[in-house]
Symmetry: C2
Subunit: 336 residues, 2 copies
């Protein structure tokens, strides 16, 4: 069955293509009688506008690329969900791009590989430096997400992880905890995310007149729950003494829960735990997880606003914005 074209509808209805186009777009200029005739032809033929052709003319596709490390991390899955909904409200659809956190894949995102397929790109980098991003990003409408350093020329939206980390520490101090560890930063080169959260952790300690004790820092070989569990188990075997733990993200906290239980430590009795991202399951774990909750809807809204301006040819200096966060307080580190 060959494609039904605008032209076929026009021929059947006995009008020009322009008139059919007017009906399809609901332009009110068409006489009621004509409109009806055209609509009948559309229905009869089962005509659907060919989006690619329309886009070629308008120069817009209604598609946005959303690039991030992996859907396997529930945080990014939930981020994608929120962005997908916010994008839909503005008439945009999302093209998924999992980078795996590899710099090659990240570079490809900016390479213009999508030229003509997407109107803009939302990109949560993990590895690329701001210099690399600035170099690779052409005149592609782009908004950066997350804690990686963003070049001044590009727009960037994130939560204040420095403050969030410090608040997490303050929360634990208020609970009377003094030996507060940090779990889950990379064993190899630190991601900027880890760096920022660790810095905030240090600030929080200093604000509480505690000294940073690097022996309370537990790196993990992998960023998932299993890696965190192994790392913390090994550290506990080596005599690590903690009464609280800040986890780089919730998956790490899930691994920590297992490691602590295996060592006979209760949460929050022996060790209070705070996670990061507040993924949906966090509230359903035993104990439920206290976690830094980014304001994802606000993040999506601002990022999409900025991207819309870029698509509308805004080419000024990069805007660097913060959106809100709060500590979702639950059983693993209750209110004092």
């Amino acid at each position: 069955m060959a494609r039904v074209r605008l032209q076929d509808v026009a021929a059947l209805a006995g009008v020009s293509m322009k008139t059919v186009s007017n009906v399809v777009h609901g332009h009110p200029v068409v006489r009621a009688e004509t409109r009806e005739r055209v609509q009948r032809a559309i229905d009869q033929l089962g005509y659907r506008p060919h989006l690619q052709a329309r886009n070629l003319v308008t120069g817009r596709t209604g598609l946005l690329a959303l690039a991030f490390p992996t859907l396997l991390n529930p945080y990014f899955a939930e981020l994608a969900h929120v962005f997908s909904a916010a994008a839909a409200e503005r008439g945009y659809r999302l093209l998924l791009e999992e980078t795996g956190g590899h710099s090659d894949s990240e570079r490809q995102i900016l390479s213009g590989r999508e030229a003509g397929m997407v109107d803009g790109v939302l990109f949560h980098p993990m590895r690329l430096t701001s210099v690399e991003i600035a170099q690779a990003a052409g005149d592609l409408p782009l908004v950066l997400l997350g804690e990686e350093p963003a070049p001044i020329s590009n727009d960037h939206v994130m939560i204040d992880n420095l403050a969030a980390a410090a608040e997490a520490v303050a929360h634990l101090l208020a609970l009377g905890r003094r030996r507060i560890g940090f779990l889950g930063h990379e064993a190899g080169e630190l991601s900027h995310t880890s760096r920022t959260r660790l810095l905030g952790y240090q600030q929080g300690l200093e604000a509480g007149r505690l000294r940073l004790d690097t022996s309370l820092l537990v790196r993990a070989e992998t960023g998932d729950a299993a890696g965190a569990e192994r790392a913390l188990s090994a550290a506990l075997n080596d005599g690590l003494q903690i009464d609280a733990l800040i986890c780089r993200h919730d998956l790490v906290a899930i691994g920590a829960l297992r490691a602590l239980a295996a060592h006979g430590l209760t949460v929050p009795g022996d060790v209070a735990i705070i996670g990061w991202d507040d993924i949906t399951v966090a509230a359903e774990l035993r104990p439920s997880l206290t976690s830094v909750q980014p304001d994802l809807p606000a993040l999506a809204r601002r990022a999409l606003d900025l991207l819309a301006e870029r698509i509308d040819d805004y080419s000024g200096v990069g805007r660097h914005e913060l959106v809100g966060h709060r500590l979702a307080v639950r059983e693993s580190a209750p209110a004092s």
Copy 2:
């Protein structure tokens, strides 16, 4: 900065558009010297092929829609991840479509709204009946996923949920459990997924010479962990006596873990638990979750194969295929 077109490159290199096109596509016919000259022009101008334009001519976009209920359920997030990787291997990219499990959104998927934007659709329905699917699906290349009934005219790939449920029951029987409950099917109209899994559950009981006891069936108002927790808590308060529990999916099992703990019941000591989908966190819970693990890579491979054939104009009768599954045995229902 205006777009650089094939024509601009041709002009700069002093060749025809056809020759540039040959170079871009790596056709070996071009003389080395010419190729080099063209390549220089491409680099100098920063030319990127405009995909939309190419697609309009070739009639292919390299885009596939993947439609499913929601990314908020880790199972679908992981499904999307696996499909994304498998699609990438074949040169396809995925357009995300969250239906929310609403029949309106599901109908839209099949309405041809994407006409010209995607080459085909992978669709995991939740609400639409096979009749509705058959009616709504035009000549769109389509492969159905999941347990919903599929019209004979369409291709369909799923795991054998009936067998899986029966195996889960057999596993629990082998552990000596006799009061095996089922948790998490819809309080309102049953989804076909729930229906199939319940049926397999019943088969498993009968194979073990146990009678179905409907008082061991616990419906939930919502499909998330919190809904399952509330439902099971209420049932336990009402005197429900069980020594094992099959959960409609892993999120339900997570909720069950909390409800059981709150009632002082241990897992697997008092109650053994089996979940479904084997989402990544299942292995990291306390206790780690025994769960039905679908062979997702095989699912993606087969679905993509079938879709590729549909895109290649195969228009025969629908293929209905099963891919493998196994019971991932962990702490919540250990091996006997």
